[in-house]
Amino acid sequence: MFLKLDLQSETPIYIQLKMQIIEGIATGSLAPNEPLPSVRQLASDLGINLHTVNKAYAMLKQDGFIIIHRQKGVVVSPSEDIKVTYEYLSQLKSNIKPIITEAFCRGMSIDEFNMICKDIFTTLKSSKTDRR
């Protein structure tokens, strides 16, 4: 897949990198077990610090999206390994709370909020079926 980083964005580069790879897995542009470039190679291709890439990879590994083998290098986790876990659920709740709070504060209804969620879900789903 093509990773696209915006150097002028306010989002830190390691977050951009992490989100791009998760999006790649979600839409199918990164297949299960697909090899990813090594930390050194990716940092050199992007022209950014090694630690930035390391940080993104470490977070992805922690969350179960990628596996870092000593010999085989970095690969995307098999699809059965990427699932909803108990920790993920609690993390999701705490992450989404401030977003919903703000929407609620601005007077958004549940349906309006659900609509947006639905839109994003369908876009992801359709780009996944497009690949197949």
């Binding site: 897949m1 093509f2 990773l3 696209k4 150097l7 470039p37 050199s44 022209g47 950014i48 090694l50």
Partner: protein, 375 residues
Amino acid sequence: MKTLIILLIYLTCYIPTLILLAIIPYITRKTVCFGICIPEEAHSNSDIIRIKKAYLNKMILCGILLSIASLFPAIIMRSEDAYSFLPAGILLMVAIMYIFYFKSRNQVKYIKSKMNWVNESSQVIIVDTSFRNKKHIASPMWFMLYVLVIIITIISAYVLYDTIPNRIPSGWNFNGEVKGWMQKSYASLLWAPMVQTFLMIVMVLSYWMIGKSKQIIDPANPRKSSDQNRSFRYMWSIYIIITGFVLTIMICSLQLSMFGFIKNKLVITILPLASVFCIVVAALILSIITGQSGSRLFTNKAAPSSDSKISSRDDDIYWKLGLFYYNPDDPSIFIEKRFGIGWTNNWSRPISWILTFGLLAFITGFIVLSNTLVK
């Protein structure tokens, strides 16, 4: 004979080199002009077209005058020393190229600031995660052919040792006459395999550099750009492997002439010249076909998702004089050149200096060693 050789040298070395130097602005990426980042649309700007044309004309005119001037001594002087002007002519040609380059570069820089081409849109970097999983470089197994030739060279020297005359030539002049002699010994027979091994090391290093170098993908059209970049590397890695192989075989045949198995003067002078000619012309043709970073490949393919709004990042500040890349924040060691075809170093990385000085020391050591062997 002498005029023929001079004419041959002129055709094989001067003309292709001159063409290669003169067409550089036309084979670089569309987003770079004389080492300055410009928008792709700017290529149809009349001033840019004029600067490129002026460079081409000046380069060809000066190159032709210079090559005639440096060939002149070789034609009128009888002494062999006259030939030493020939490589100097090539060096002068490169020096003149840089003078014209700096002049044109300043003009482009001026136009860029006047037209306000400074990149204000977002600065985006694109990387293909599967770049090195797809075909991007020829197999390193081809280097086994080199090893094979080197082994044949060594074995042939030792098998034929008794039939080799006691006095063997250590060099020839341009007319194919023997310049010096040396005594036959097992050590002096090592000369050819040593040069071959040295050559192989240099070629393997270049090959490694092609594979390692940073991928630069045009955000306006990532897929096409990635394909271009990979094909470019693949084609040039093959060029590197073939060039080294031709030279390795040439050295093997040189050894056979040293042993007196090849006596034909014409073969001794023509063969190296023909090899050099093929290598230089192949480089010229390949440069025109691929362009820097493959920018001239697949140009007929329509850009499906061309988004001219996103442009690549303007990294002029990291390119000192437009020639030397110095970016301490970039961990990459090798990067594609901005003027010309090929790759260069990131000079902010200590490994670049270690490699450069290491190679220089290696070459010096090699010359010293081969001189002691020949004596």
